[in-house]
């Protein structure tokens, strides 16, 4: 199947250090890649390359054939980071609506309400973000990232700060996006959370993929043991 998100021989260095080293992969519509690895493995840098926030030194990434960081490709991306990317003096609704307007959503108000309801935070929509707990802020951040119905959802530690209800809502949302034909990349340290939503899993070390496989038939306990052994 033609990949919706494609990375080809991506290399990104910071000074002498190669944060991402010759990474290639493709994700088809409706598939999800869970990306694991220790701190400093290059996961966040890879995600920033896929979001068009960083330019690769070598290689290229594309979404449905549109090369990143072209606006046509960025329009299809939703990004969830471990930072909320929200304005703390604006309300939850204003933050999400601003994102909808930047993407040119015709009914920005309706899309905003729908996204806030999906994350079960609509009842706090008029509260300034700074007055929300870290978990609720994360829910608003996720609502901001999905308000335009992105074809590619990039999530860097999306479960950070979420309680059980929030985590369940997020898992449901990720599976829903997959079912709707979106391609997902989920960076997480929690193997069980990542594998629960992923069709493929990859492990990064020193900027490169050291494992990359389909999750179908994967034994989570054995995978976790092998993962621990890899970094022992």
């Amino acid at each position: 199947m033609t990949p919706l998100l494609e990375a080809r021989r991506l290399v990104r260095s910071f000074g002498a250090r190669r944060a991402v080293n010759d990474v290639s992969f493709g994700i088809a519509a409706g598939d999800a890649l869970a990306l694991f690895g220790p701190n400093g493995a290059g996961k966040t840098t890879l995600l920033r390359l896929l979001a068009g926030l960083l330019k690769p030194n070598v290689g290229a990434a594309a979404i449905a054939g549109e090369m990143l960081p072209a606006p046509e490709a960025r329009a299809r991306v939703g990004l969830i980071s471990h930072r909320t990317m929200l304005y703390d003096t604006l309300t939850a609704r204003e933050n999400v609506r601003f994102a909808a307007q930047l993407h040119g959503i015709a009914d920005a108000e309706g899309a905003t309400q729908h996204a806030l309801e999906q994350l079960r935070v609509a009842d706090r929509a008029e509260v300034p973000v700074r007055a929300l707990s870290r978990g609720l802020q994360q829910r608003v951040a996720i609502a901001r990232a999905i308000v335009h119905g992105p074809d590619v959802l990039l999530a860097d530690e999306p479960y950070t700060g979420l309680d059980e209800q929030g985590a369940n809502a997020l898992t449901g949302l990720l599976l829903e996006r997959r079912a709707a034909g979106a391609a997902l990349v989920v960076v997480t340290h929690a193997l069980s959370e990542g594998l629960a939503v992923a069709s493929h899993a990859a492990v990064m070390r020193a900027g490169s993929f050291v494992r990359h496989e389909a999750t179908a038939g994967l034994d989570v306990v054995r995978y976790a043991a092998e993962y621990r052994e890899l970094f022992a």
């Binding site: 979001a51 330019k55 930047l102």
Partner: protein
Amino acid sequence: MTAPAPRRGAPTPPGLLAAAGLVARKDLAIEFRSRSAFLSALVLSLLSLVIFYFAWDPTAVAAVDVAPGILWVTFTFSGLLGLHRSFGVEQQERAMDALLVAPISREAIFLGKASANLAFVLGVQLVALPALALFYNLPLTTVLGPLAIVMLLSAIGLTCIGTLFAGITSNTRMAELLLPVLALPFFVPIVLPAAQLTAKLLAGRPLEESLGWLRILLAFDLVFLYACTIAFPFTLED
């Protein structure tokens, strides 16, 4: 790579000016809620005017001679406070990343931020100018129209340069120090004709007598607006 897939029913991202308007409105909403930068700039302006007033010897220098310099020193430094703040709000939770992922041009981000900063600087000028007239007993009402033109044109140039350098320095550890150090030399081509025009106007001379300075001010506005808009995207490269 595969050929681009058509995206049915895809929303149309806003154009340059519409996106700039969204960014400006967002920045002004943030400032309106907190008012922290505006109040800081306003207090700095008023304090500067008071200090200059007590340091001024009216028997040695006439008010119309000293006022233009005081006015532009005050506006320049108070404006810097707001310019620094405009990118500070983007850094707190890396909100700038969300702006950069959105399908709007980097030029739109610059124009939006510069527009919000222009409104900020004009707001400070609107309050500080009557205070200056009060302290120095200046005949402001007779020159208000031409002076407003000079202040608007000067504010455009100052905010273009200031927004660009605020963007450049926002990721640095010493942004508050670097911004004035880098921006002030570029303020000179704006502040010089602005001060000259203000001096002529306060001395009771008609604006037509100083068209040369006005043309210089206008020319630098256009150059800075164009150059800063083009240069801004390069400041966002990692």
